[in-house]
C-alpha cells in the first residue's frame, strides 16, 4: 500500500478564547497521497482553517498526531518545523497576505530569502514562476498596483518558489469574482497535473469540486462523509 504523504490521526485542537475553551477539531482523520487534489469544505467556524494550519506545520494538535512521510511533526523542534514549511510546504493564504512594500518578484522570493540559494538564481526562479502564472507584465508591480486575481497569482507563485510537495490554500477564491476564481482554480489544477504538486484547498465553496477530487467535509470539528 502507498505511504500517505500527509496524514492526520485522531487530531483534536482546543484553544482558549477569553475564558471559553473552543473545541476547533474533535478527532479528525485525514489521509492525503502525493499528487492528490484535495478539498476540505465546510461552513464558517467548522474548523477547516485550523485543520489546514495543523497539516501545514503552522499549528500543533492538542491531541493526536500529524505525519509527514510517516514522520510525526510533534517530534520536530521549532526550527525543524520552519524548515518543513520552507522546503516542503507552500501556503496560499486567505486575503493573499502579500508584503505591500515589496514588488511581485520580491514577494515571490520571500520564502527563500534566508536560504542558501544565491540571489541571481532565486530572482530567475521567481520571474519564471510569475511568467508561468501569467504575470510577465507585472513582475515589478507592487500589490496595490495589482487586481485581486493578479495578487492571488502572485501568492500562488510565492507558494511554488520552494518547489513544495504540498500546497495548502485557504479560501483561494474567496475574495475573487467567479471568473477570476475559476481562472485561479484552473491554474492550480494545471500545476497539479504538470508538476505533480499535491493541493489541499480549504473552501466553503463547492462549485470548483470535480468527481476526481478527494473531498473532506467538516462540520463542528468533525469529518463527515
Amino acid at each position: 500500500m502507498k505511504t500517505p504523504l500527509l496524514e492526520a490521526r485522531d487530531v483534536y485542537r482546543e484553544y482558549l478564547l477569553g475564558k471559553t475553551v473552543v473545541k476547533a477539531l474533535r478527532g479528525v482523520d485525514v489521509v492525503i497521497h502525493k499528487g492528490d487534489f484535495v478539498f476540505i469544505v465546510g461552513p464558517s467556524g467548522s474548523g477547516k482553517s485550523t485543520l489546514m494550519h495543523i497539516l501545514g506545520a503552522l499549528d500543533h494538535p492538542t491531541k493526536g498526531s500529524v505525519l509527514l512521510d510517516g514522520k510525526n511533526l510533534a517530534r520536530l523542534s521549532d526550527w525543524q518545523l520552519s524548515m518543513v514549511r520552507r522546503n516542503r510546504v507552500g501556503f496560499v493564504f486567505q486575503g493573499f497576505n502579500l508584503v505591500h512594500s515589496l514588488n511581485a518578484k520580491e514577494n515571490v522570493m520571500l520564502p527563500l530569502q534566508t536560504s542558501d540559494i544565491d540571489k541571481v538564481t532565486l530572482e530567475a526562479r521567481a520571474i519564471k514562476l510569475l511568467m508561468e502564472v501569467g504575470l510577465k507584465h507585472r513582475i515589478n508591480h507592487r500589490p496595490n498596483e495589482l487586481s485581486g486575481g493578479e495578487r492571488q497569482r502572485v501568492a500562488t507563485a510565492r507558494a511554488l518558489i520552494n518547489e513544495p510537495e504540498i500546497i495548502l490554500a485557504d479560501e483561494p477564491t474567496g475574495e475573487l469574482d467567479s471568473k477570476t476564481g475559476a481562472e485561479i482554480m484552473g491554474l492550480m489544477r494545471t500545476i497539479n497535473k504538470e508538476k505533480g504538486t499535491t493541493f489541499v484547498i480549504v473552501t466553503h465553496d463547492t462549485e470548483y469540486i470535480t468527481e476526481k477530487d478527494k473531498v473532506f467535509r467538516i462540520r463542528d470539528g468533525k469529518i463527515i462523509r
Partner: protein, 359 residues
C-alpha cells in the same frame, strides 16, 4: 534623534577632554624644570618671592641654573583693552624673563620656539617676543611697534603656534617688573633646572625643606597630578557616555518596538512561509544596527561640525581625532544592536497564525 545627540555629545566631550589634556601636557612638558612659587598662592601672578631666594636655590646640590620670572596680565595693547577676538578672548599674558639667564636655559621658553625673529638677549630693554595669536590679531611682524600697558615695545620675535603661549608678551624681567608694579627685589616665581632631569623630584623636596614659604613642583609631578585630574575627567566621560548609550538604547527599543508591532502580520507571513525565529531575530537586529549606522553617520557629521564650529569661534584647542570619530560611530552601531535585542526577541516569538489573522 537620541542616538545622533548621543554621538554628538560623545564627540564633543572627547574632543574637549583631548584638547585640555594635550594643551596642558604641552604647557607642562615645555617647562622642563621645577617651578618654585609662594606657598598656597592661587597662581603664579599672585605669588611674590624675594630675589634673594635665587642664590639660596642655586646653592642646593644638583641645581644647574635658576631663572627668576615675572608674570602678569596685560592691561592694554595699543592703548585699549586687549581685543576680545576669537583667539585671545581678551586675555594677554605678560611674562618677564632675565635675558642673561635665558642664554643658559635648556630647551625653549615653555616648550615654544621663537618662529620668527629672535629671543631676548642681554642688553635688551623695550623689546617683546609675542605669541602668534597676538601677532595675527594685531597684525604685528618682527620690527613692528606694539604699545603694551602704555609703553612702546619693538617686536623682536614671534613664537610658533601654540595653544598655551599664543597670547603671551615676553619682555625683559626688569621691564616686566615695571609694567606689573613689582619692585626690583621681587619676582613671582623661579624655574629651577637641574643637571640631571631625574633629580627633579629629590631637589623639589629639598627646596621645600629649606624654604618654608614656597611650593616646589617638578614637571614630572605636574604631569602626574594632571593625569590624576584627567582620570576624573575620563570617569565623568564614561558616565556621560553610559547615560547617552542608555538614552539612545531606549530610543531605539521604542522605535524598533513600534516598527515591529506595526508589521506583526507581515512578520507572521514570513514565519508561515518558512522563516525561522532566528531569521526574524536577525532581520530585526540588522534593521536596528542599520539605524545605528545611519544615526552614527549623522552624529559623526554633526559632531564634527560642532567641534569645528566651537574651535573656529573660541580656538579652545579641541582635538578631533579619527579615533574619536570611529569610537563614536562604533558606539552608535552598538547602541543600535543593543536597542534591537528586545524588540527582535519579542517579535521572533510571535505566533504566525495569530499574526496572520490580524487586521
Amino acid at each position: 534623534m537620541a542616538l545622533v545627540i548621543g554621538v554628538v555629545a560623545i564627540i564633543t566631550m572627547v574632543s574637549v577632554s583631548d584638547g585640555i589634556r594635550n594643551s596642558m601636557v604641552e604647557a607642562i612638558s615645555g617647562m622642563n624644570g621645577i617651578i618654585v612659587w609662594e606657598k598656597d598662592a592661587l597662581d603664579l601672578p599672585f605669588s611674590c618671592l624675594p630675589m634673594s631666594y635665587e642664590k639660596k636655590l642655586e646653592a642646593i646640590p644638583g641645581v644647574k641654573v635658576v631663572f627668576p620670572e615675572v608674570y602678569g596680565l596685560v592691561n592694554t595693547i595699543e592703548g585699549e583693552k586687549p581685543k576680545g577676538g576669537s583667539m585671545t578672548m581678551g586675555m594677554a599674558v605678560l611674562a618677564g624673563f632675565d635675558p642673561v639667564k635665558e642664554q643658559q636655559r635648556v630647551g625653549s621658553i615653555y616648550g615654544v620656539e621663537v618662529e620668527k625673529g629672535r629671543n631676548l638677549q642681554p642688553g635688551d630693554k623695550y623689546v617683546a617676543v609675542i605669541g602668534h595669536q597676538l601677532a595675527d590679531e594685531y597684525d604685528k611682524r618682527v620690527g613692528s611697534i606694539m604699545k603694551v600697558n602704555g609703553k612702546r615695545f619693538k617686536v623682536i620675535g614671534i613664537l610658533e603656534e601654540s595653544q598655551y603661549a599664543g597670547s603671551a608678551v615676553v619682555v625683559p624681567i626688569d621691564i616686566a617688573r615695571e609694567l606689573a608694579g613689582l619692585d626690583s627685589d621681587t619676582v613671582n616665581s623661579f624655574t629651577v633646572q637641574t643637571y640631571n632631569p631625574s633629580d627633579q623630584e629629590g631637589v623639589s623636596k629639598i627646596i621645600e625643606a629649606r624654604l618654608d614659604d614656597v611650593d616646589a613642583m617638578s614637571t614630572q609631578a605636574m604631569l602626574k597630578d594632571l593625569e590624576e585630574v584627567m582620570v576624573i575627567f575620563d570617569w565623568a566621560f564614561i558616565l556621560l557616555s553610559s547615560i547617552s548609550l542608555l538614552i539612545a538604547g531606549i530610543g531605539i527599543i521604542n522605535t524598533m518596538l513600534m516598527s515591529v508591532m506595526d508589521r506583526q502580520k507581515e512578520i507572521g507571513v514570513l514565519k508561515a512561509v518558512g522563516w525561522s525565529s532566528e531569521d526574524v531575530l536577525k532581520l530585526v537586529l540588522y534593521e536596528s544596527a542599520l539605524i545605528g549606522v545611519f544615526g552614527g553617520l549623522l552624529g559623526c557629521i554633526a559632531g564634527g561640525l560642532v567641534v569645528i564650529g566651537i574651535e573656529n569661534v573660541v580656538e579652545f584647542g579641541l582635538t578631533l581625532s579619527w579615533t574619536t570619530i570611529l569610537g563614536a560611530f562604533a558606539f552608535a552601531v552598538f547602541a543600535g544592536l543593543v536597542g534591537g535585542v528586545y524588540p527582535a526577541w519579542k517579535i521572533s516569538r510571535i505566533d504566525p497564525i495569530q499574526a496572520i489573522r490580524m487586521e
